[in-house]
């Protein structure tokens, strides 16, 4: 299937094993990509070392992607270490607020948008010039199935993920002339270590392998005619 030999991929949210970012990075590495791993936690350096020990070229980059300089530094690391950038997967983000929409504290709203929308937008902004120099590339963002099937008691998260979906489609249109494709996956809750801990080992949790397969398809040249797509990965029809 998807082939990434000779490509450089930057993945955000790779700090912790058992989470989506780590699974995506591991699969890209196995498919031949050289990796820049980004996270706000310093453990990302450990992840890079672990990948290197398995023969995958990987560099860790600690940064706060709600800051433009940190996003630019991650791209600069890819250019310095691997000479370019072909693929960006924006996994970093998460669900913060659960509760009635009418009572979302404003600080929580700001934070939810910052960790989901701002990180994605800033990473894309930083990466686009580098992708364009290579003659094109692929960005895969993380929306959520909640964008297509809204859920109650998590409105700020749904709104933030909807913003990512909207940004994905708008950006796809804007950068198509540079042969940069921009898509998003829209998963249901995934079988991550955190989700299993919080929700229990529910059968409907999306296996990480299936989520990874969707990301790798969209990131690969196999999807060269696919842009602006919000691809559900849910285990059920929608």
């Amino acid at each position: 299937m998807a082939e990434f030999r000779g490509k450089v991929a930057l993945v955000t949210g790779v700090g912790r094993v058992g989470q989506i970012g780590h699974a995506v990075a591991r699969a890209l590495g196995r498919a031949g990509a050289q990796l820049v791993l980004v996270d706000r936690v310093a453990e990302v350096a450990e992840r890079a070392k672990e990948f290197a020990a398995t023969g995958v070229a990987a560099r860790g980059c600690t940064g706060d992607l709600t800051k433009p300089d940190d996003a630019r530094a991650a791209v600069a690391l890819a250019l310095k270490e691997f000479g370019g950038l072909d693929v960006v997967v924006n996994v970093a983000g998460g669900l913060l607020h659960m509760g009635p929409a009418a009572a979302i504290p404003v600080e929580m709203l700001d934070r939810e948008f910052a960790i989901n929308v701002k990180t994605t937008v800033l990473m894309c902004q930083a990466a686009i010039p580098a992708l364009a120099v290579r003659g094109g590339g692929a960005i895969v963002n993380f929306a959520s199935i909640a964008v297509l099937q809204p859920q109650a008691q998590m409105a700020s998260y749904v709104a933030a993920k909807a913003a990512i979906a909207g940004f994905t489609r708008a950006l796809a249109l804007e950068v198509a002339p540079q042969k940069i494709r921009v898509n998003a996956v829209a998963p249901a809750a995934a079988r991550t270590a955190d989700n299993i801990k919080q929700m229990g080992d529910l059968p409907e949790l999306v296996p990480l392998d299936d989520l990874v397969a969707a990301v790798l398809y969209l990131a690969s040249d196999d999807a060269r005619a696919v842009t602006g797509e919000i691809l559900p990965v849910t285990g059920r029809s929608i």
């Binding site: 299937m1 489609r169 796809a172 249109l173 198509a176 002339p177 042969k179 494709r181 999306v206 296996p207 299936d210 989520l211 397969a213 969707a214 790798l216 398809y217 196999d222 999807a223 060269r224 005619a225 696919v226 842009t227 602006g228 797509e229 691809l231 559900p232 990965v233 849910t234 285990g235 059920r236 029809s237 929608i238």
Partner: protein, 242 residues
């Protein structure tokens, strides 16, 4: 799903995207039942090329506008190949029909093949696919997601394929996954002139595609999409973004 050693039925495999899909699945290791109706020569060429890839190819003929023939097609394919794991519904027509030119006959010719045919081929395949925990991929069209004023019956048929996909996905879970690919301009109609082709290329953000793009999308849904059902994957070079 690992495709090596599996058996696939591809309808409309004598030409265009159906042919590319049959060859793409053979390349992935599938034996293929090559369905055709009008394109016997093309189907024979498809079968020959599949055999050259080292896979088994069996020709299965049927007029899928005939619902009984459509319902019996999977049995034919399974008998010929010894099993059936994958169904690709691709046999369709795309006929330009300005609204005032549509006749009951031209309407039926499009809807009977493009929509009713898909349903009854799928219905006939259910028993085989259930036991194999198989997969169905329907080839829809972006014309089923946006209105094309001179192709209204075609657009309706493909919009029907989108709902067929979602309905079957729910009805046949968890044993069978059902998804669709909605191609954009990956292979323009043979009779389009150069000016129209150029206009399409210029108005598609990523330019014109190729049938390979559809093959890759179908392979993703078969090989990587075990947890994906009821989804319509748009492969249109960004055309729907305009």
């Amino acid at each position: 799903m690992q495709l090596a050693g599996k058996a696939a039925l591809v309808t409309g495999a004598g030409r265009r995207v159906g042919r590319a899909l049959a060859l793409g699945l053979a390349d992935a290791g599938c034996d293929v039942a090559v369905h055709y109706h009008g394109s016997a020569t093309g189907a024979q060429e498809t079968a020959r090329d599949i055999r050259q890839l080292g896979r088994k190819a069996e020709l299965v003929a049927a007029d899928l506008r005939d619902a009984r023939a459509a319902r019996g097609l999977a049995d034919q394919a399974a008998r010929a190949l010894g099993r059936l794991d994958v169904l690709i519904n691709a046999a369709a027509v795309m006929v330009r029909q300005p609204v005032l030119d549509v006749t009951p006959e031209s309407w039926d010719a499009t809807l009977d093949l493009n929509l009713r045919g898909y349903f009854f081929v799928a219905q006939g395949a259910v028993a085989h696919l259930r036991s194999a925990r198989g997969k169905i991929v329907n080839i829809a069209d972006v014309g089923g997601l946006e209105p094309w004023p001179t192709y209204v019956p075609h657009s309706i048929s493909k919009a029907g394929v989108v709902m067929l996909t979602k309905g079957l996905a729910k009805a046949l879970a968890p044993e069978i996954t059902v998804n669709a690919v909605a191609p954009g301009p990956v292979l323009l109609p043979d009779d389009w002139d150069e000016t129209t082709r150029r206009r399409f290329a210029e108005t598609t953000p990523l330019g014109l595609g190729s049938p390979d793009a559809v093959v890759h999308a179908v392979r993703y849904l078969l090989e990587g999409g075990d947890y994906v059902t009821g989804t319509v994957l748009v492969v249109d070079g960004g055309r729907m973004l305009r």
